[in-house]
Symmetry: none
Subunit: 301 residues, 2 copies
C-alpha cells in the first residue's frame, strides 16, 4: 500500500460516493469544514480535496449553496473552455481595466481563469509579453474607419481614436512602448499607417509627417497618463476626487499659506470654466492641429 497524500485518499472516497450514487447530481458534497471534522484533517487539506474534485469537473461551486455534484450530462457544456492565449489575454484585459495594471499579477489572473499560475506560462512567455499582447488586443477593438479626404479631419479622428483606446484601457498609458523601440503590435502599427495615409495628400516631407504623427501621439499619451494616475490613485486609496480634495485641503491650504501662488490663485478663483481631461484634450488637439496647419501653409506658400 502506497502512502498517498491525505487529500487524495479523501478525494477518492468522495469520488466513490458520487460514482455509487450516494451523492446524486445537485447534492452538496461535504464542505471544507465538514471534511476537517469527518476526517480530522487541517483546513488546507480540506480545501485541496475540493479543489481536486472541482478540477476533475465532478463538482462545482454553487454560490450561496456550497459545492455540489455536477450532472455528468451537463458537465461537457459547463466545462471551462480550454486555456488559450486569447482567453488569457482577454481575462488579463478585464482585470487590468477594472483594477489597474498593479492588480494584474500572474497569480490573480490564474485564479480568475481557474488554473495555476504556472499554466499561464505554457501560453505566454511572461508578464511583459502578456502586457504587450494586451495592448495589441486593445488597439484592435475599435475600428479606425476609412481615411477621410482631408488631413485635418483625418488627424482629428486619429487623435479621438487613440483617446478612446486609452479611455477604455487606462493602464495602456503605462504600457505603451517607446517611440523609437516600437512594440511589435500589428494593430498599433496599423494606426501609424492610417495617420500616414491621412497626411499623404499634404506637401509635408517624410520627416515632417512622422514628426507630426508622433507629436500627436505624445500629447494624447501624456493626457492618458494623467488620466491613469488619477484612476490609480482612486483605486489605491478608495477615495473619489471630491473626497480626496476634502481630505487634503488643510494640507493644501497650509502649503499655499507658506508659499503663496497668486497667479494660480487668481486663475482658479476666476472660475466659470470647465477644466477636465476632456476639455484639455479638445483644447490641445485644436492647438496642435493649428500648429500643423501653419506648417503646411508655410510649406505650400
Amino acid at each position: 500500500m502506497t502512502t498517498e497524500p491525505p487529500y487524495l485518499s479523501i478525494a477518492t472516497e468522495i469520488r466513490g460516493r458520487i460514482q455509487t450514487g450516494v451523492l446524486a447530481p445537485g447534492d452538496r458534497v461535504p464542505s471544507t469544514r465538514a471534511i476537517t471534522r469527518e476526517w480530522g484533517v487541517a483546513m488546507a487539506t480540506a480545501t485541496k480535496v475540493l479543489a481536486a474534485l472541482r478540477q476533475e469537473g465532478l463538482v462545482r461551486v454553487e454560490p450561496g449553496v456550497g459545492t455540489v455534484v455536477v450532472d455528468p450530462r451537463q458537465a461537457r457544456q459547463a466545462t471551462a473552455p480550454a486555456l488559450t492565449r486569447a482567453r488569457i489575454v482577454r481575462a488579463a484585459l478585464e482585470l487590468a481595466d477594472s483594477e489597474g495594471l498593479n492588480a494584474l499579477t500572474m497569480r490573480r489572473l490564474a485564479t480568475v481563469l481557474d488554473t495555476s499560475a504556472m499554466a499561464l506560462y505554457r501560453h505566454v512567455p511572461g508578464k511583459g509579453e502578456l502586457v504587450r499582447l494586451m495592448a495589441d488586443e486593445a488597439c484592435g477593438e475599435v475600428p479606425l474607419g476609412p481615411v477621410p479626404g482631408h488631413w485635418r479631419p483625418g488627424l482629428e479622428r486619429a487623435a479621438r481614436w487613440l483617446r478612446e483606446v486609452y479611455a477604455r484601457h487606462r493602464w495602456m498609458a503605462q504600457a505603451m512602448a517607446s517611440f523609437t523601440r516600437p512594440v511589435a503590435s500589428p494593430n498599433a502599427m496599423a494606426y501609424t499607417e492610417w495617420v500616414l495615409a491621412v497626411l499623404w495628400e499634404t506637401p509635408l516631407t517624410s520627416s515632417q509627417k512622422l514628426h507630426t504623427h508622433l507629436t500627436l501621439f505624445a500629447f494624447v499619451q501624456g493626457l492618458a497618463l494623467a488620466d491613469d494616475l488619477e484612476e490609480q490613485a482612486r483605486l489605491d486609496t478608495g477615495l473619489s476626487d471630491g473626497e480626496w480634495m476634502e481630505q487634503n485641503e488643510p494640507r493644501f491650504d497650509a502649503m499655499q499659506s507658506g508659499h503663496p501662488y497668486p497667479l494660480l490663485d487668481a486663475v482658479t478663483r476666476d472660475g466659470g470654466f470647465e477644466l477636465s481631461l476632456e476639455s484639455l484634450f479638445e483644447f490641445g488637439l485644436r492647438r496642435t492641429l493649428d500648429g500643423v496647419a501653419a506648417m503646411i501653409d508655410e510649406t505650400s506658400g
Copy 2:
C-alpha cells in the same frame, strides 16, 4: 557545492583581491561596467556587487575617481552621517536615476544608506510619499530664471526647463501625479506659477491660460514617458538600442512581411532625416507654440 547568487561570488572574488593585497587601499576596484565585461553579468548584478562591498565598508565611492579600496585604519572616521529625510531622498534620487524606479526598493535604499529597511520609515511615511518627495526635490534642482518679457520665449523656456528635469530624472515621467490632483509639491507649483506669469501679458482668458499650460505639460510628459520606457527597456534587458534592434529585426521583418505597412516603409526608407526624442521635442514644441500663437491672434483680432 551550493549555487550562490552571482553577485555574491563576484563580491567574494573581489574581496579576495583586497585581502591578498592585489588591490591595495586607494586602488580602484572594477567599475560596474568593468564587472559586466569581466564576468559577463548584467548591470544590475554589477551594481549589487559594489553595493555589497560598500556596505561591508571595504570600499567607498570617490567622486570623480570611482570605487576605491578603503584604508582600514581610516574606516572608523569615514562613518556615515546620521539618517535624515534629506539624505534618504538624495540617495533615492540617485538610485532611481541610475537604475530606474523599479530598482528603487526600500530594502535596496536601506542597503545603500547602510541601515535597515525599517529605519527609513522613521523619516518617511512610505514609498509613495518618498517618490513624491523625490519629484519635488528634482523640480528644485534647476532654476527657472527670470520671466521673459514675451510669452513665446517664455513658454519655450518653460518647456525646455521641464524637458531638462525629465531628462535628468527619467523616472519622473511615471511618478508625476495627475493634473487634477496636483501633487503637493512646492517646486512643481512654482513652475505652474512661472508659466502663468509668462502668459499674463497675453489677452487669453484664465481658462485658456490654464489649458495652454497643461497642453504643454501633457506633450512634454508624453515624450518623457517614451524616454523612460526606452531607458527602462535598456536597463531591464541590458541591451543598447542598436543591439535590441539587431536582435529583434528578424521578428520585425516577419511581422512586416505578414502585414505590410507600405507608407511607414516608404517614409522610413526615405531616410536622411533625424528622428530622435530631441528632434521630436523641438518639432512638437514649435507646432504647439504656433497653435497658441494662432489662438492669441484670434483673440486679439
